[in-house]
């Protein structure tokens, strides 16, 4: 595999792993040390792992800025209307009124686009598909993952195979491991 191909795959892999294995990756990052990459003559899974190590700083930034699903238990609904968020930054220089609400709506739209665009809420359908195709072990999963553009990682296999209601975008990943 060419170096460029490996990096291209890495980009895809990083996004997916950010969603699905974030907590695990953060845990691993503490143990990683920078080292020279040897992208030749290695299994693709290993190439990706090494590339992620090499790219640690960039990846760390990505992880830290990624939206997180915040699950809340049943509680009484307390809603109020606030003017606080409409306090505008009346910039005499730009003449623009940018409210915090505007910013949050933009952030919300980004989150939504990411969530839908990355297909991160489709884990259950992946599990069904794996079951139909008779994926019974990690080796079979790797082939299945390549065909279906899924993360090629042991953790990805565990999450998809055993499930952990991973719609929390990373918060409960350890539950499925």
């Amino acid at each position: 595999m060419e170096k460029e191909d490996a990096f291209s795959l890495l980009e895809e892999q990083k996004m997916k792993r950010t969603v699905e294995d974030r907590d695990y990756i953060i845990e691993l990052m503490g143990k990683w040390e920078r080292e020279e990459m040897d992208l030749q003559n290695k299994p693709i899974e290993e190439q990706i792992e090494k590339a992620i190590k090499y790219d640690e700083e960039e990846f760390r930034n990505l992880v830290h800025t990624f939206p997180k699903y915040y699950p809340v238990e049943s509680q009484e609904m307390v809603v109020y209307q606030s003017k606080k968020l409409q306090t505008t930054n009346n910039s005499s220089e730009s003449g623009l009124n940018i409210t915090l609400k505007d910013k949050l709506i933009v952030a919300g739209a980004s989150i939504l686009a990411l969530a839908v665009g990355l297909g991160i809420v489709k884990l259950s359908s992946v599990k069904d598909e794996m079951s139909m195709k008779g994926v019974n072990n990690y080796k079979e999963y790797v082939s299945f993952a390549k065909e279906n553009d899924l993360p090629i990682s042991q953790e990805g296999y565990v999450n998809y195979n055993y499930g952990n209601n991973s719609i929390d975008l990373g918060n409960n990943i350890k539950g499925g491991r």
């Binding site: 800025t65 990624f66 939206p67 997180k68 699903y69 915040y70 699950p71 809340v72 238990e73 049943s74 509680q75 009484e76 609904m77 307390v78 809603v79 109020y80 209307q81 606030s82 003017k83 606080k84 968020l85 409409q86 915090l100 609400k101 949050l104 709506i105 952030a107 919300g108 739209a109 989150i111 939504l112 686009a113 969530a115 839908v116 809420v121 489709k122 884990l123 259950s124 359908s125 209601n165 991973s166 719609i167 929390d168």
Partner: protein, 72 residues
Amino acid sequence: MDDIIVLNNREFLILNKINLNGYNFLYVIATDGSNEFTLLNEYEENGKKMVKSVMDPELIDEILLKIKEENY
């Protein structure tokens, strides 16, 4: 005026309210810049309005797609 919902003593801005199959859902985002968001299911219990996060992956998928359809 902005609609704010308080969850675990934190403020979340209500970005969308949608009705899906007769149930009300809220798409909310934290106002503290933490990039945290959740989808809430609104329901009644003992005469009180309650909310809890949707945890079913397929339902989340369905809600997000509907919000996206309505917004874009």
